[in-house]
Symmetry: C2
């Protein structure tokens, strides 16, 4: 390009592009993560599925979830505790190695169960509950948790964010009820999609809805 013969608008466009390209080198990659709010749900193992919905029955996918291969099933159950029931609790698929119930603290008060905040799968010492299906019911000795908030990341996302599986990060939440959340666990797998999971109490208490974005703070930049 011959700057001496260019008209003003061509020159302006040329300089603008030059400056923008230069600025882009300093731009930080986004640290934003979309939120999915988990309502109360249950994961079933084969044995519980057989009892609740019939021998060799299969879950019927109703809606795909944020994580690849995971789905909300047509099937629902009733949870019965000492103080009451939660009806139409959604079963999530596919089946798992161990039955697990995830409710929020508010649900726990309603049914009379006081589950601890736990990572998925860490069920030792957790309370049980009665699960009622159309074909039968099971009394779980353990398996009720309040899910520890966490961020699913694909391996590529983890590289970009500079974090590892199991790492604890802080997350910035905007809005009226926003702030910074401690103790957010990173879970990395080539099977995961980038998504933060919180429960209904956290969503309502922090003013967050499914589809909102939060920001993972850079632990190297913290005060």
């Amino acid at each position: 390009m011959d700057l001496t013969t260019s008209d003003n608008s061509t020159l302006a466009a040329y300089v603008t592009k030059l400056v923008m390209d230069e600025l882009a080198k300093y731009e930080q990659p986004s640290r934003k993560v979309k939120v999915g709010v988990s309502n109360r749900h249950i994961h079933l193992d084969r044995t519980a599925m057989d009892v609740l919905f019939g021998k060799d029955s299969e879950l019927r996918p109703k809606k795909k979830l944020g994580q690849p291969g995971q789905f909300a099933a047509e099937e629902t159950v009733t949870l019965r505790g000492s103080r009451g029931e939660l009806k139409r609790v959604r079963v999530l698929g596919p089946l798992r190695a161990q039955t697990q119930v995830e409710i929020c603290v508010t649900d726990g008060f309603a049914v009379g169960v006081k589950p601890p905040v736990r990572e998925s799968g860490q069920l030792e010492g957790t309370p049980g509950i009665e699960v009622i299906g159309p074909k039968g019911s099971v009394v779980l000795e353990e398996g009720v948790i309040v899910a520890l908030r966490h961020i699913h990341m694909h391996t590529d996302d983890a590289k970009r964010f500079g974090v590892k599986n199991g790492q604890i990060v802080k997350v910035k939440v905007g809005g009226d009820r926003g702030g910074v959340l401690d103790n957010v666990v990173i879970r990395v797998s080539p099977k995961y999609a980038l998504e933060m999971h919180i429960d209904v109490d956290e969503a309502n208490g922090l003013g967050i809805a499914t589809g909102d974005y939060v920001e993972v703070l850079d632990s190297n930049c913290e005060a």
Copy 2:
């Protein structure tokens, strides 16, 4: 004290006190505040009281609250929205100039009302609800809010914390579900006692119970 003639234990005690007194000069005053979790409740004006509980009826105090002069009354009402009812909703006394309903977001879903997060008394444009008492019912045109989290402070506390009425501060919450909360309003009055008010969603989502302590961050010390 003659150090040359003191025995070792007297000397040790003397030096310890000297060092502790010196260290005390550097100690920061506590910035801790006790939390009170507000369950759903209603404040009534004279007109609503007359309709719901009878002409010239008076609230009967059942339990003192954290703020001087405030009490939970024996009286309860039912709130009825488009999707359902909340029964045994506690009336707080004394009577106020305007009827105001405070529920959490989870309650709002249950009854079919979507109140905004507001400071107490700021009711313009808020949704209404039907309030049912033993002697009659009123349909409020407005007055349902989700209370904006806030800290009541006596004038002396405000001086100690170095904050003013209406100031917005950040609050540090400990525990599994802790973090830092933005947008906490300070409310100062010689009639107030030091106490932070949050609602049930916030309490459950953040793992806080009545009587727990949080810490007001010093805005001058923030990163």
